[in-house]
């Protein structure tokens, strides 16, 4: 590919790819793959923590606005340097390790967490031709790496020798294992439709347009259901409201990182947000067309910009939820995972299969739309009703005494 031969939008689109190649050009041929990978890693390690910094400000300001407050606005213009101040603070803060804590494990836990989460970014396509390792089993890689974060959380909770920490860690691990199942299951529909585990292929499969509208999976009944289920499971996986019980401060003080301070705490914080971003990134890849533009006429905007815009939107949604919802209880969370999420994801799998076999002939397309949407809706309403009624939940009327 020749950079000069491309049009301007294409140039912009491939800007980072060419920067990578340009740097690689300085090195002898047999070093180039290593250098290329290093450049990519540096790019990811630099950009996502930067987004994390942005997200913390955004979160605090957004929550503030939702709560009729201003949020941080003292450090720098509009408070955008707040994360810098926070970073300096957490770096200079005393690092307290409880006397009875298991020093090595206590130290390793945040490191393992952050490393594992960073690994997950390797197969995340953040733009056209912009994926660190394009492997066949990219999605599987992400889930495999994601699963290992649980261990670091356990390490943190166990090594702190604190009842709250241990309870928080147990809750977190139980929750993450439980929600991993629906997370995987809801992601599988996209894999089924694409016929590949490769994240790049999944995005490419969604890159077409009908008129101006894209072929994102979210615009199909199974895709929509899968997306919603994926979002719910992702919220639980990343311990975000309303599933933030592992760190539910009203019960467990701060959950598994109660005994962490200073930079280790900051690492946990970073890990949490990076996890959130990577899972949001995969959600985007699976259902929201990855780096594809939402309308065909917007194709001139670089693909990576679209990816980051979608990521930002997803993060804002997470923040929005956090500003609104109270949290569930442990048993309700589990019930929800096994009694609602799992059946729904299984049903969604079947619906997706049916969709595939009904074909997309002119009449079939219409029929399968109604059929699949109907089945999913019916199941949702029915299951929801049954679950609510079983727990005797519902609106109430009140009487008055004069």
């Amino acid at each position: 590919m020749n950079f000069q031969a491309l049009t301007l939008p294409e140039k912009l689109d491939q800007l980072f790819v060419f920067v990578q190649h340009w740097i690689m050009g300085f090195f002898p041929a047999h070093w180039q793959p290593l250098v290329g990978a290093l450049v990519g890693v540096v790019g990811i390690v630099a950009s996502f923590p930067a987004i994390f910094a942005l997200t913390t400000v955004l979160e605090r300001k957004g929550l503030g606005r939702m709560q009729n407050r201003l949020g941080p606005n003292r450090v720098g213009p509009l408070g955008i340097f707040q994360p810098v101040a926070d970073g300096i603070k957490s770096l200079t803060k005393e690092d307290i390790v409880p006397v009875s804590a298991d020093g090595v494990v206590h130290f390793l836990a945040p490191v393992v967490l952050v490393v594992a989460i960073f690994l997950g970014y390797a197969s995340l396509p953040i733009g056209r031709n912009m994926v660190l390792v394009n492997i066949d089993a990219g999605l599987l890689f992400f889930f495999a790496v994601g699963a290992s974060t649980e261990l670091s959380i356990f390490m943190a909770g166990w090594s702190s020798r604190n009842k709250y920490s241990l309870l928080g860690a147990m809750r977190a691990v139980a929750q993450m294992i439980s929600y991993e199942v629906p997370l995987l299951m809801s992601a599988i529909v996209a894999v089924m439709m694409t016929g590949s585990l490769s994240t790049v292929k999944i995005v490419e499969a969604q890159s077409g347009f009908t008129g101006i509208f894209p072929h994102w999976y979210v615009f199909t009944p199974w895709g929509f259901a899968g997306f919603v289920l994926f979002v719910i499971a992702a919220l639980a996986e990343t311990n975000r409201t309303p599933f933030d019980l592992p760190e539910g401060e009203s019960e467990l003080v701060a959950g598994y990182f109660t005994e962490y301070s200073g930079f280790k705490f900051a690492l946990f914080f970073l890990g949490e947000y990076l996890g959130m971003m990577s899972i949001a990134g995969f959600g985007i890849t699976l259902f929201l067309g990855g780096w594809g533009a939402p309308f065909s006429f917007l194709n001139f905007i670089p693909s990576w910009a679209w990816f980051f815009l979608k990521l930002l939107a997803a993060l804002c949604f997470f923040i929005w939820l956090r500003g609104t919802l109270p949290r569930l209880r442990q048993d309700q969370l589990m019930n929800f995972a096994w009694k609602f999420m799992l059946p729904m994801t299984l049903l969604n799998l079947m619906v997706a299969a049916a969709w595939r076999f009904l074909g997309d002939s002119a009449t079939g397309a219409w029929l399968r739309w109604v059929l699949c949407a109907g089945v999913l809706l019916l199941a949702y309403v029915g299951l929801g009703r049954v679950l609510m009624r079983k727990q005797r939940l519902g609106a109430r009327s009140y009487r008055y005494a004069e």
Binding site: R65, M66, N68, R69, N73, W320, G323, G384
Partner: protein, 214 residues
């Protein structure tokens, strides 16, 4: 049910989020050191001593009667009576406080001292930025620090101060009239050959109606 409640809630927070950019109602923060809320006239923080005239120490209305010291619920007022007397604002010789300290680290701003003071000598301030680096000595205000002019009182509590001034003026007029009458009587008496001295002992000031608004 089935998520409508959650969606409704989300709509509500979204409304507040959007509203915070357009409506003052939804963004109530006042950024304190730069911005300040309008002072509220009735605000009370810590007591101060009112003086008349220009010399703070000479013009103190306080006569060291120690009623406030006794009535103060947390007992944060410390008064030492003077041994001599000096003229008060109506010119009558009065005992004055040789020491009048208020420990504002103990004071709970309850205003009981103001209510019980029969001389309108102690009032509530609105100054609240009293932080100091010395938490012991810095928070015990002595009479020099406590003394503030009647003009200041008029400035911070105009309505209340106007009433107090009116009342005091009335008192003063009464006292003066009495003094005049006494002087006249004295003069009349002096005209008569006998006794010389009847000090125009002004009646102790009556307890003015306590509720400033009544």
């Amino acid at each position: 049910m089935l998520g409508e409640g959650i969606v409704k809630g989300l709509a509500e927070t979204a409304k507040n989020f959007a509203g915070s950019f357009v409506s003052k109602e939804r963004l109530t923060t006042v950024q304190y050191p730069e911005e300040r809320v309008e002072p509220i006239e009735n605000t009370r923080d810590f007591p101060f001593l009112v003086y008349d005239g220009s010399d703070p120490m000479a013009g103190l209305r306080c006569v060291a009667c120690q009623i406030c010291e006794k009535e103060c619920p947390p007992k944060c007022i410390y008064i030492t009576k003077s041994t001599d007397k000096k003229p008060d604002y109506v010119g009558k010789p009065q005992i004055y406080p040789a020491r009048f300290d208020i420990d504002i680290s103990v004071c709970m701003s309850c205003q009981i001292c103001v209510e019980v003071c029969p001389f309108e000598a102690i009032k509530m301030d609105t100054e609240f930025e009293l932080s100091t680096t010395d938490r012991f000595e810095g928070l015990i205000l002595d009479r020099e620090q406590l003394a503030k002019s009647n003009e200041y009182y008029n400035k911070i509590h105009p309505t209340e101060a106007a009433e107090v001034d009116a009342r005091l003026a009335e008192e003063k007029a009464k006292v003066e009239a009495k003094a005049k009458a006494a002087a006249a009587a004295a003069a009349a008496k002096a005209a008569a050959p006998a006794s010389g001295e009847t000090t125009a002992k002004p009646a102790p000031q009556k307890d003015p109606a306590k509720e400033p608004g009544a």
